[in-house]
């Protein structure tokens, strides 16, 4: 591809999934009107969900899902060896995602609960960066395809790949939404990284923080505000724990 006198190379990508719902990978096939142009930017070397072709010579690996079995660890490590750029793709990959809720209960209990006396192998859920080095994180449950498109275009052209550093409230206010706090709900929008176009609060459901913490958040002021407004601390705990994205900030109290 030549544009403006510069030469751009297609991205040699591969997409892999681990413990997850595959909803993020599915976004590759969404935003149909720009799909043909989108795939023009990619040289898909391996992508089991949509293609039977499989080659090992990719530069960039999109890794979806969290890690919860020993074979997954091995598979991830071999992907890391091959990939020049490894992308943690989606909330499960970036933070562990909803799967991490399992970690609240001892593993054996979970196995017995679901599989009775036929045990299956399973480990506590880990995020991708617990196992291998991650070069780029694209959070979201699911990832926002528009943002994925933008990032892919940036990678192809060599322009800046950036996620917003500010929180969801900015986008929420731009949509003229009524603040969930005014509707009596705890919302994680003010501590969560924007980029989703405030999709949840625009649908009048509180932000559960799938995109993880915004840059340099004021977590103490946030928990203080929940207390001051007399909102349920149980609810706060449930929300902060939902995607495991605020692990680093949680204290025994929250």
């Amino acid at each position: 591809m030549n544009q403006q006198g510069m030469h751009f190379e297609k991205l040699k990508i591969a997409s892999f999934d681990f413990t997850c719902c595959e909803g993020c990978q599915l976004q590759f096939a969404n935003r149909e009107s720009s799909l043909p142009a989108f795939f023009e930017l990619l040289d898909v070397r391996a992508f089991r969900e949509i293609s039977s072709e499989k080659h090992d010579d990719f530069d960039m690996a999109f890794v979806e899902g969290s890690i919860s079995r020993s074979d997954e660890i091995e598979r991830l490590q071999s992907i890391r060896k091959q990939a020049k750029i490894l992308v943690a793709f989606g909330t499960c990959a970036c933070f562990g995602g909803v799967n991490s809720l399992k970690n609240r209960i001892p593993i054996e209990e979970s196995v017995v609960e679901v599989y009775g006396e036929h045990p299956v192998e399973t480990l506590p859920v880990q995020k991708i960066s617990d196992i291998v080095q991650v070069d780029l994180s694209i959070p979201g449950c699911p990832v926002a395809k528009e943002e994925v498109e933008r990032i892919v275009v940036s990678l192809v052209t060599g322009s800046k790949v950036n996620l917003p550093k500010y929180p969801v409230c900015v986008e929420c206010k731009q949509q003229l939404n009524t603040c969930m706090f005014d509707l009596g709900e705890i919302c994680l929008g003010s501590i969560t990284r924007a980029g989703c176009n405030a999709v949840c609060t625009s649908g009048k459901t509180p932000c559960l923080g799938c995109r993880g913490p915004a840059e340099d958040i004021n977590f103490p002021a946030f928990t203080e505000l929940v207390k001051e407004r007399g909102l349920s601390e149980n609810d706060l705990r449930e929300k902060l724990g939902f995607y495991n994205a605020f692990e680093a900030y949680r204290t025994d109290e929250t």
Partner: protein
């Protein structure tokens, strides 16, 4: 020379999730034919424990990236039934429309991205973008329409945001509904093109007598709730889902298998069609005729065709539904409720078949026990037994190992399995 072969497909491509096919033939005799699901288990039934009812649909929708709306609605239905909450009629209409969006999107994805390459002999849809641009465009147009319907009704196409216990957190915007109506009008031609393409394909001839199970309500083509009915004549109440499924473990699969009156049964578009073809929109019935689909059809490859017929139904039904919604007062969309203890099943027809969520709540509306039975789980046994029968028939027809392998993969894909879902 008698055929000796061993087909070992590790992580079948172009399906959602991880599944393996093993077929072993010695001296022209089938020794083994096996379908194994090797997906990593996620333990949603454990995760959901202790969670407040209002949060549950947001969690369970994450069971599946394709049919998240079905999962959300199955949970919502079980919780609403458990706590005796009646959603307002407008909310029910919007939910049905949301199901239509999801089904259309899912069917289009399956038909064009996952199944069509088999018939065209390409590894994926990507080469088809060059060789069959109109066909791919038709597929994308339909898929986009499905996604747009989901977005207008639930706020987002994957993982809905406004489906909540009690109704909807936000009503769809009427201007956007009107826009959908125009979009449907425009995209009917894409559907026609798809029907002509699939009518021209040589669908493999293979039959194995099967018990087909789906929802049934006796008045309309079923999507949300109703009785459980099988083509073998079983009819049960929604709450008796366990008697309809009889889950059992089939190692090494991490997904369970089910059965009803026979060794296996099937759910999905074909099952819905076989049980409810009378309730299809007349246009869809016409399309079925054109595509050579008649109840009760026992050829699993015809699943693809049944999905296409359902797309016709959906486009036409969505039109009526949207027109109705535009005339409705959409302010009353959420019933406030007080949490209470209870238990119930919520069954919906997900794109791949009947989906059950069973939930028990405590006084605060927190889930104390949950059970989810996924359509693909209900198809696993059928896929497994079909594989054997298919291999046997192919051997009789003198097919070689490559042909058998191709047929086997096509067979599994026709079921449109959603594996990570089945190992939730």
């Amino acid at each position: 020379m008698k055929l000796d072969c061993s087909i070992d497909i590790h992580h079948l491509t172009r399906v959602e999730g991880h599944g393996n096919i093993h077929i072993r033939v010695e001296q022209g005799q089938l020794v083994e034919a096996k379908w194994a699901v090797v997906e990593t288990p996620r333990f949603f039934e454990v995760m959901v424990k202790g969670m407040s009812a209002e949060r549950v649909p947001f969690l369970t929708s994450r069971i599946c990236g394709i049919c998240s709306i079905s999962h959300a609605l199955a949970s919502i239905r079980s919780l609403e039934r458990a706590m005796q909450v009646t959603p307002p009629p407008a909310a029910e209409a919007v939910r049905l429309l949301a199901m239509h969006g999801e089904t259309l999107q899912s069917h289009a994805l399956h038909l064009f991205f996952l199944a069509a390459p088999d018939f065209a002999g390409t590894p994926s849809v990507l080469p088809l973008m060059q060789s069959h641009p109109e066909l791919v465009k038709a597929g994308l147009d339909l898929k986009e329409l499905g996604n747009e319907i989901s977005t207008v009704t639930t706020g987002r196409c994957t993982h809905p945001v406004s489906l909540v216990v009690g109704g909807l957190s936000k009503a769809p915007d009427k201007d956007r509904l009107k826009f959908l109506l125009d979009m449907i009008g425009e995209r009917k031609s894409a559907l026609g093109l798809a029907c002509d393409f699939f009518a021209s394909l040589a669908i493999p001839q293979f039959e194995r007598e099967t018990e087909f199970i789906s929802l049934h309500n006796g008045v309309s083509y079923p999507f949300i709730g109703g009785d459980l009915r099988s083509t073998d004549g079983v009819l049960r109440d929604e709450n008796d889902y366990l008697l309809m499924t009889n889950e059992y473990l089939a190692e090494p699969s991490t997904s369970k298998f089910t059965r009803c009156s026979r060794e296996s049964s099937a759910a999905g578009a074909l099952a819905r069609f076989n049980n409810n073809s009378a309730f299809l929109h007349p246009e869809a019935r016409k399309a079925a005729e054109h595509l050579g689909l008649r109840p009760v059809c026992h050829n699993p490859f015809m699943c693809n065709i049944a999905q296409l017929v359902e797309c016709v139904h959906i486009l036409n039904d969505a039109e009526t539904l949207i027109a109705k919604l535009i005339d409705m007062d959409l302010r009353e969309i959420r019933t406030q409720f007080t949490p209470k203890a209870g238990c119930a099943t919520g069954a919906v027809e997900a794109p791949r078949g009947i989906l059950y969520h069973y939930m028990e709540t405590d006084n605060e509306g927190r889930v104390v026990k949950a059970d989810c039975i996924i359509p693909t789980t209900q198809n696993n046994a059928n896929i497994h037994y079909d594989l054997g029968a298919l291999a046997r028939q192919a051997l009789e027809e003198g097919k070689n190992d490559r042909e058998i392998e191709k047929l086997a993969t096509m067979l599994v894909r026709s079921y449109d399995p959603c594996i990570s879902c089945s190992v939730h």
